[in-house]
Symmetry: C2
Subunit: 105 residues, 2 copies
Amino acid sequence: MSLIAETPEPPYYAVIFSSLQSADTAGYAEMAERMMKLAAGQPGFLGVESAREEVGITVSYWRDLKSIHRWKAHAEHREAQRIGREKWYSSYKTRVALVERDYGK
Amino acid sequence: MSLIAETPEPPYYAVIFSSLQSADTAGYAEMAERMMKLAAGQPGFLGVESAREEVGITVSYWRDLKSIHRWKAHAEHREAQRIGREKWYSSYKTRVALVERDYGK
């Protein structure tokens, strides 16, 4: 389940994670679900949006850089990142970005 | 066709457009394709990534805010935005963000 995140007024941070899956996705779905739940419980977490077609895009929103660094260093998340790099993703890019402005309906 | 964008060294900008479609998507696919092509020809355009499941996420990358403002004000794009607001999207959010750091494989 992933809809549009209800984020506070900017500024806040976005982590844009774009990935292409490899042929071996065994265990991926369970880990992705586990990481979504775990991330949602971290200090400074503001929301997440995710979709995959050819490319997978997951954008998570955070209060500040400190929250992002803490989540990146989380032991269980580090293990997930390692398996992702070695097994699930043929290619990926992570971008850390300061959201300056937002609008919508 | 949307893979991982090959962007230059940060800093650069990301425009994160997240949307939920309404029931009426007539004409949407053609317009989305047209806008992708038109955006790719704009000054300062660096790349785009897009995927849709429950939520649609399109992240376009730009050299600077000026390029983003010019694209937002482009006459044909303005008309597409208007139809999107009125017809294709039940909900959407646009976030303008400065990419400070990126890494990947």
